[in-house]
């Protein structure tokens, strides 16, 4: 008998399907520089997160994103001298020279890109638990699994730690002082968050999780798979005209890794692979395929380069198809 999920309201579907969605959405965020698409992608991520958690991002999240965009814009304006639309021209010297609108727009699109990645990772953190990630760690990469778990728990722990540190400073007579406080909190924040992450890693080890789990044949299979993957990528890179060999090795390696992941022992709560999960997986994979095709065939549709003279970024249906496919969780999620 399969135990009833204690968190039915919080079960978001099969983690592997979500990993596929995250891979697609994160790839889109990393490959796209067009501000319109990045804005839409950010909106998609917010909508998806709201659909699965019923929580909109906190005000502090929006503040963080605004700060990132502003910082990126300011840095680019201050240090880039390219572009023809001069907003301000200072005498040559320290930080002198032309300050251009193109540099500002390039900075905005860089900031939007970072924000889109963060919003996608926010969804990821809401739907995939550290334990889900650990259980999916390919054989031979268990230390990476533990590291991934630490990375995944670092952000929420850091947020909690920052609140505690901020309170602690006030308790010791230091009034909140915005940027100054944030700067002074960086080191203790990192230490506190790492201490908490290390506590979880210690618990993992004490509970029997390690690089040697599982042992025997599966571990050997994993090691062979990683060598095959590296060889396949190498072959593809060295002989791009004859990709068959390299791609064949890559596919073989991925198959071996999947076999390893699928056989890493029984689960107390077996995960069902229902139609919404299949749909999410397939639509996310489709988004990834379209994105890769665009990247190889028409990279100009994804990028935005305002230099040398400003032009408004365009909109094309093909990237919009990618973004539309990434809205899949909004429709595949059940209401319970």
């Amino acid at each position: 008998m399969t135990p009833a999920s204690p968190l039915s309201a919080q079960r978001r579907g099969h983690p592997s399907a979500w990993l596929a969605w995250t891979a697609g959405a994160a790839s889109a965020a990393l490959l796209i520089r067009n501000p319109w698409y990045l804005l839409i992608l950010g909106g998609v991520a917010i909508a998806v997160r709201w659909r699965v958690t019923r929580h909109a991002p906190a005000r502090s999240t929006f503040l963080l994103l605004a700060t990132l965009i502003l910082t990126s814009t300011l840095v680019n304006v201050l240090f880039s001298r390219a572009g023809e639309t001069v907003l301000l021209d200072l005498p040559i010297g320290w930080l002198g020279g032309p300050y251009t609108l193109e540099a500002a727009l390039f900075g905005v699109s860089a900031g939007l890109q970072i924000s889109a990645v963060l919003l996608v990772m926010l969804v990821f953190g809401s739907v995939v638990t550290p334990a889900d990630l650990l259980r999916r760690t390919p054989p031979g990469l268990y230390p990476v699994g533990v590291t991934s778990m630490l990375a995944l728990t670092f952000a929420p722990l850091a947020r909690r730690s920052y609140q505690e540190l901020s309170e602690a400073r006030r308790l010791r007579g230091w009034a909140p002082r915005g940027v100054h406080e944030a700067r002074a909190s960086v080191e203790p924040l990192v230490i506190l968050s790492l201490e908490r992450a290390v506590a979880q890693a210690e618990a993992l080890v004490a509970r029997g999780w390690s690089a040697s789990t599982p042992g025997g044949g599966r571990r050997a299979l994993g090691q062979i798979a990683w060598v095959a993957l590296a060889a396949g990528l190498g072959l593809w890179a060295v002989v791009p005209d004859q990709p068959g060999f390299g791609l064949g090795l890559i596919v073989l390696a991925l198959l071996m890794l999947m076999i390893g992941v699928r056989s890493t022992g029984a689960r107390y709560r077996p995960e069902s692979w229902a139609w919404p999960d299949r749909a999410l997986f397939l639509l996310s994979a489709a988004a990834m395929v379209v994105l890769l095709l665009l990247m190889t065939r028409s990279p100009g549709l994804l990028t935005y380069y305002p230099y040398p003279r400003i032009s408004l970024p365009g909109l094309h249906p093909a990237p919009l198809v990618v973004l539309a496919l990434l809205t899949a969780p909004v429709f595949t999620q059940s209401d319970d």
């Binding site: 308790l171 007579g173 230091w174 009034a175 909140p176 203790p188 908490r196 979880q200 689960r267 107390y268």
Partner: protein, 530 residues
């Protein structure tokens, strides 16, 4: 089951020994308690038993440790996890899943158990440990006592021969702590595992273990013996031993004789309520809710200058919320707070902190400086007092037993020492009101006594002190009045001994022994002339 031979250990980059030539042999099914002052190496010794030391922590390890016949140097924690289940000091920080039964299953999943075995074992544990009511509830919504139960269940899930517990009751209220101890004893009787537990609260475990091991800093094992004999040989004094010594009776007096002797003592006439000076901190009608769930309901409070008041209540009764509201960290939806007659409504926390010192329950986040001395300097600078400290920082460090570690990195210290550093970091500004949330967590009895005496001295000088604590023996020794909170409401307020006795959950060790409200602690007894 446990065989340690000349085990010495140094943490990475440390020149001082954490454990020094420790020899220990414990048979299968035996239960032993590890006692010792803060920083003596109790947690380190427990981590030797499952191989976390040295495999997870690194450092230098000498000697030989064999657990269930396995040499921990070659076996390592993963292999030892089959034989050793560990319950950490703060279980909530170590949960790896979101639900109780997932947590129970995690260890078995990593061991490669088959699906059918997994389901059967989890069901078995849930039934045997009576964890059914906890299923279906997220772990972070369980009480501290329930979390401890899940952690113990998870440690037992792989049916290890040795269970290691590092202060499992530290954060529990008295009834929950007693329930966990009784539960562990019952489980041990049924499953016959070997038990190693560390706790500063000796009396809690003395009737439930076969052997007591005493670690003296730095990491030297000095006393080991049967509980009845060991308790009186330790430099720690539990309340029974302290009472017997105070009266000039033999320290290893039989408990029945001690109870009879104490009952025969004439009770002092009921202490009249002290002539309170002016009310220093007053709160009326404080309410607060977390996400719509009321945590504090119309709470009233009044603390006079020079008064030490204790705040007791079960886990989740609203103690910490009340202190946070008084400090301004939680904004009370209703009610008003006055300090020396002035409303604090619009006074920000940083300004309030000059007059009201608050040490939260987990003070780890209070510590960010490079040295203990620098922590005190940081507070003084925050209040603009760095060139004219209201009290001598060196004196404060000495009073709190921190002189030797004044140049140490605070986060490298033991839990009890960190607690004292956090206290010092707040006390150095010499606030007129002190709010302390579980200040004795992780503190050994001598350090607790020093803290109690310090609070008395400060109260004598006019400071108002409010101490929220599960440690009723500490409160009975040092506070004058008790406030009882229940479900966010003030249930009672009155003289310490009578109020604690009137609420059976909060009776002290001596009150439980004698069945009488007086004496509530050894401090109530007139010292026998030497």
């Amino acid at each position: 089951m446990i065989d340690l031979e000349q085990v010495s250990y140094w943490y990475p980059e440390s020149t001082t020994t954490a454990l020094e030539a420790v020899n220990l042999r414990v048979g299968e099914g035996q239960r032993f308690l590890i006692a010792g002052p803060s920083g003596a190496g109790k947690s380190t010794l427990l981590r030797v038993l499952n191989g976390l030391v040295p495999h997870f922590y690194g450092g230098r390890f000498r000697g030989r440790a064999r657990i269930a016949g396995l040499d921990t140097r070659s076996a390592g924690p993963v292999r030892l996890a089959e034989h050793v289940g560990m319950v950490f000091q703060e279980p909530q920080a170590r949960f790896l899943t979101a639900a109780a039964d997932d947590e129970l299953a995690f260890g078995m999943e990593t061991s490669g158990a088959q699906q059918a075995d997994l389901q059967r074992r989890v069901k078995e544990i849930v039934e045997r440990l009576n964890l059914g009511p906890l299923l279906g509830r997220p772990l972070d919504r369980l009480s501290a006592g329930e979390q401890a139960k899940v952690a113990i269940g998870a440690a037992l899930s792989r049916q290890p021969g040795l269970i290691v517990m590092d202060e499992p009751c530290t954060e529990l209220d008295p009834p929950a702590a007693r329930a966990v101890v009784d539960w562990v004893e019952d489980l041990q009787r049924r499953h016959a595992f070997t038990l190693a537990v560390s706790d500063h609260h000796l009396r809690r475990w003395l009737d439930h273990v076969d052997q007591v091991v005493y670690l003296r800093a730095p990491g030297r094992l000095e006393v080991a013996g049967a509980p009845s004999k060991a308790a009186v040989r330790l430099e720690f004094e539990d309340s029974w031993t302290a009472a017997a010594r105070r009266l000039g009776w033999s320290a290893d007096i039989d408990p029945v004789d001690l109870a009879r002797g104490l009952a025969a003592l004439p009770s002092p006439s009921s202490p009249g309520r002290r002539a309170t000076t002016e009310a220093r901190l007053v709160a009326r009608g404080l309410s607060f809710a977390y996400g719509g769930r009321p945590a504090l309901v119309e709470a009233d409070l009044e603390i006079g200058a020079g008064e030490i008041v204790g705040l007791v209540g079960l886990n989740g009764s609203g103690k910490s919320t009340l202190l946070r509201c008084l400090m301004g960290l939680n904004f009370s939806e209703s009610g008003e707070i006055w300090l020396d007659g002035s409303s604090l409504r619009s006074v920000p926390v940083a300004e309030r902190a000059r007059q009201i010192g608050f040490v939260p329950q987990s003070p780890g986040s209070l510590l960010f400086a490079e040295t203990v001395e620098a922590e005190l300097a940081f507070t003084l600078a925050g209040h603009g007092l760095h060139d004219r400290p209201p009290i001598d920082p060196s004196w404060l460090l000495q009073t709190l037993g921190l002189t030797e570690v004044r140049l140490s990195y605070p986060r490298d210290l033991s839990a009890g020492q960190r607690q004292r550093v956090a206290l010092a970091a707040v006390l150095v500004a010499h606030p007129q009101v002190l709010l302390l949330d579980e200040p004795t967590l992780g503190m050994d009895p001598p350090a607790q006594r020093d803290l109690g005496r310090l609070l008395r001295d400060w109260a004598t000088a006019g400071t108002a002190v409010l101490v929220a604590s599960h440690d009723v023996d500490f409160l009975a020794s040092f506070v004058e009045r008790i406030i009882v909170l229940e479900n966010g409401r003030v249930l009672a307020s009155g003289p310490t001994a009578d109020t604690l006795f009137a609420h059976s959950d909060f009776r002290t060790s001596l009150q439980r022994l004698t069945g009488r409200p007086w004496p509530a602690s050894a401090e109530d007894l007139r010292p026998h002339p030497a």
